[in-house]
């Protein structure tokens, strides 16, 4: 992280005030076939304090959350609430004990209203056992007001942005009188502004005496919002305490068990020949008038707020949607791409943002996923050669330092970072000239992140042209040769790396000068 981390003044005040242990987990062990996911893990959450849970992918954070919320039952250890031992055999029991999780990719019902989402499963009922719509709408409205939500309880969920959906999830947590709120990577899909709004809500929840478990890979956020920390590594607790007594370097050391370079490993590359020319690309609703050129070895950052049309634009380059206007030249040749198959043949590939939905077939083995875009290459006359397939998978698994029990393991059983390595491998196996990475480090831990960044940089050094969509300023600033900022579907400006600052980008992306208080200083 290259940007300086401002020390939040709020932290010191809260540190001493309350010290009531709300939830305690002691000696928690969880076994899966062949894997010890958690061994003898401890975690204490205190009322009115935010505890950051930190660890690399696969360190056991998600397993712990699932144990805490009754989805898994621990094989050893005990959980206490207010000092009294509890055993959860179902998620509903954890919820009625006041523990609620807000997930990484919020699981809500698109077609239902905000009020129905907030009260799904525990709607107020009339005497006859029917849903009391009036009471539900009134209570939902009140909850939304306390969160300053800019939408009402009648709104359909599908009409909300990702940031607004998080507000609904928080309202849901409040509706069940949650005392312990778990936030698993809540800012992963949020713009800086939306994240700031979320932090304001976290402060409010804290002031109400709730305990918050905050899982994030972003250190800036952790130091800004959390009071305490707990670090996991390989399914064990390796450190815990107050953040005021430690620093970033120490936490990174605990996390990885070895020093990690914090800087982005951008290599100096002399751009090669022109490989991609986009002219006046447009779509009826999503984007308009996008033009740029890209050379071999170059990394073009695409920055903007969530919803600025960056993914939609890149998906149309890749043939998922058709542009309504525009010209495309690849390696100097006019090219029309009508399907992802066309794009792959033209040497252009797209690594999507949503790994579970678009990137990987989670139920299929690692090896099958890695060769899904290159089936003709590992087969002859349509017959797949298992040997060639495993050889290819192994090659990429080793290059990207994949952590897995076997290459036949389903991708869905791996951590986010390892899933991302598989999705990237799948695309590199097609030997593209241009690779588009949509939020390549979303939801992955610092160790995997450094691996992915290093890898991207090396690919560029080998002559690959890279387009990287990212909402993380340090990533954009650290990795890109040039940055194209988009706002509301339109390209705003194309910046060169030299002298580019976060403020410039945020200003261009938001369209006003003082929308980013953190950076104004």
């Amino acid at each position: 992280m290259t940007t300086p981390t401002p020390v939040p003044p709020a932290r010191a005040q809260h540190a001493s005030a309350q010290d009531t242990r709300l939830l305690e987990m002691r000696g928690i062990t969880k076994l899966f076939p062949g894997v010890r996911a958690l061994s003898d893990v401890n975690l204490t959450l205190r009322a009115g304090r935010v505890t950051a849970l930190i660890g690399e992918n696969g360190a056991g954070k998600s397993t712990l959350v699932k144990t805490m919320t009754g989805i898994y039952r621990p094989d050893g250890g005990d959980i206490r609430i207010d000092g009294a031992p509890v055993v959860f055999t179902a998620p509903a029991m954890a919820e009625s004990a006041g523990i609620t999780a807000i997930h990484q990719e919020t699981v809500l019902f698109d077609e239902l209203s905000v009020a129905e989402n907030i009260f799904a499963g525990h709607a107020p009922t009339t005497r006859f056992g029917l849903i009391d719509r009036k009471a539900m709408l009134a209570r939902a409205g009140a909850l939304l007001r306390t969160l300053d939500a800019p939408f009402g309880p009648h709104t359909r969920l599908k009409d909300l942005s990702i940031g607004q959906r998080h507000l609904v999830a928080v309202a849901r947590a409040l509706s069940v009188e949650a005392r312990v709120i778990i936030m698993d990577e809540p800012t992963a899909a949020l713009s800086q502004k939306e994240a700031d709004e979320l932090f304001a809500i976290v402060e409010r929840l804290k002031a109400q005496g709730r305990a918050i478990l905050f899982i994030s890979h972003k250190f800036e956020e952790v130091f800004r919002i959390a009071d305490d920390y707990a670090v996991f590594r390989d399914g064990r607790s390796v450190g815990a305490g107050a953040l005021a007594d430690t620093d970033q370097a120490e936490i990174v050391r605990l996390m990885v068990g070895r020093p990690v370079e914090q800087t982005f490993p951008k290599l100096a590359v002399t751009p090669g020949e022109l490989v991609l020319e986009v002219e006046d690309y447009a779509h009826p609703t999503e984007f308009d008038g996008v033009s740029f050129q890209l050379r071999r070895g170059e990394i073009l950052g695409l920055y903007g707020l969530v919803g600025a049309g960056r993914s939609e634009f890149c998906q149309s380059l890749f043939g998922i949607t058709r542009p309504s206007r525009g010209r495309l030249r690849i390696k100097g040749r006019d090219t029309v791409i009508r399907s992802p198959g066309d794009a792959i043949r033209a040497g252009l590939v797209y690594v999507p943002e949503e790994r579970g939905r678009h990137g990987a077939v989670l139920a299929m083995p690692i090896v099958d996923n890695m060769t899904l875009a290159t089936l003709p290459e590992v087969s002859r006359y349509g017959v797949i050669s298992r040997a060639r397939e495993f050889a290819l998978a192994r090659r990429y698994a080793e290059r990207l330092d994949l952590r897995a029990a076997s290459l036949s393991q389903p991708v869905g059983t791996l951590s986010g970072g390892n899933q991302q390595k598989i999705v990237i491998s799948k695309w590199l196996a097609t030997q593209p000239d241009i690779i588009i990475l949509d939020e390549p480090s979303k939801g992955i831990d610092i160790g995997s992140k450094a691996a992915v960044h290093g890898f991207i940089s090396e690919l560029a050094a080998q002559g690959l042209a890279v387009i990287m969509i990212s909402s993380e300023l340090p990533e954009i600033l650290g990795m890109s040769d040039r940055v194209l900022v988009m706002r509301e579907g339109r390209p705003i400006h194309l910046y060169d790396r030299a002298g580019l600052t976060a403020e410039t980008l945020v200003r261009a992306a938001t369209g006003n000068t003082d929308s980013h208080p953190e950076l104004a200083a």
Partner: protein, 368 residues
Amino acid sequence: MTMLTPNAPFSTGQNRAGQDRAGQNRSGPDRAPSPTPPMRRIPDRTDAPLTALLKSWEALLLLLAAAIFTANSFASPYFLDVWNLSDATFNFTEKAIVALALAFVILAGEIDISVAGIIALSSTLMGATAAAGQPMPVVVGVGLLTGLACGAVNGLLVTGLELPSIVATIGTMSLFRGLAYGILGDGAYTRYPEGFAYFGQGYVWEWLSFEVTVFLGLALLAGFLLHRTSLGRAVRAIGHNPTAAAFSGLKVRRIKFWLFAATGLAAGVASVMLTSRLGSTRPSIATGWELEIVTMVVLGGVAITGGVGTIPGVVLAALVMGLLTFGLGLLNVSGIIMSIVVGVMLIAVIALPVLARKLSNRMRRTTP
């Protein structure tokens, strides 16, 4: 920071990661290798092949087939006669041929319940062609082409109009059989050209019937396609996650269209055999077969949600159902009781592994 470890085969010298990119041998960065501890080699598979086989659904079906076979041989002294066993196969081969194709459709996350309707329409048109005095090859050609065309209609409805396949094929199920009734009314076609009887009644060698031979050949073909080719892999990927499959460059619509067309063709093949075996066509021919065929596929371990399943499983399920109904027939059990038994067996076989898993989970939880 680099993710390459010193012992990785790609970390030699300057150009560490370049080997994969043909013709791209620019020198890579020369930086110190990361201090990552040496990496474990990831094994290809977790279970030994034999262990995986023993734990499989197919092993359970094989056991069930053996049990029914044994019970049958005790139930009737004639059962083990080789001609009797050969006769037993006529009980299921026609349905099983359709089940082989339908397995691909279900694996791809779709369904086709119009197959019995296709058989009826195909049989009716064959009868009409025969009644018009056409020779045997034309009659068979009409039967197969009708099947293919009906399948193509289903495929177009699902991939072109993007109708849910359950709705589309409920519609065509009524449509195809309705057409058969429209053409034939209460009547029947009973006159078929010379040589046509071979497809449902002929023997290739001694007791080896033409039907069984075709079924075994198609089973080998289906197994090969599903388990060895990129088409089979694509079908599985589409069944698990059609969006990710499309993002990977697979031609999801085109593949689905051809799966429906192939299922129609398989229904056409079954229709030729059934019509030939019965020697007559009524519009009510093959009534209720769609459910028996779907049952075969599901009993064979193909997940109705798509993505999961094997051809050996479907073949074994066909065998189980065929042996069971044949055995019950030997015992003079009525058709109604038979359908009750088949229903109970389906539920029991599907429920058993679920129950076993729940039980073992409970045991594991109580004994830490």
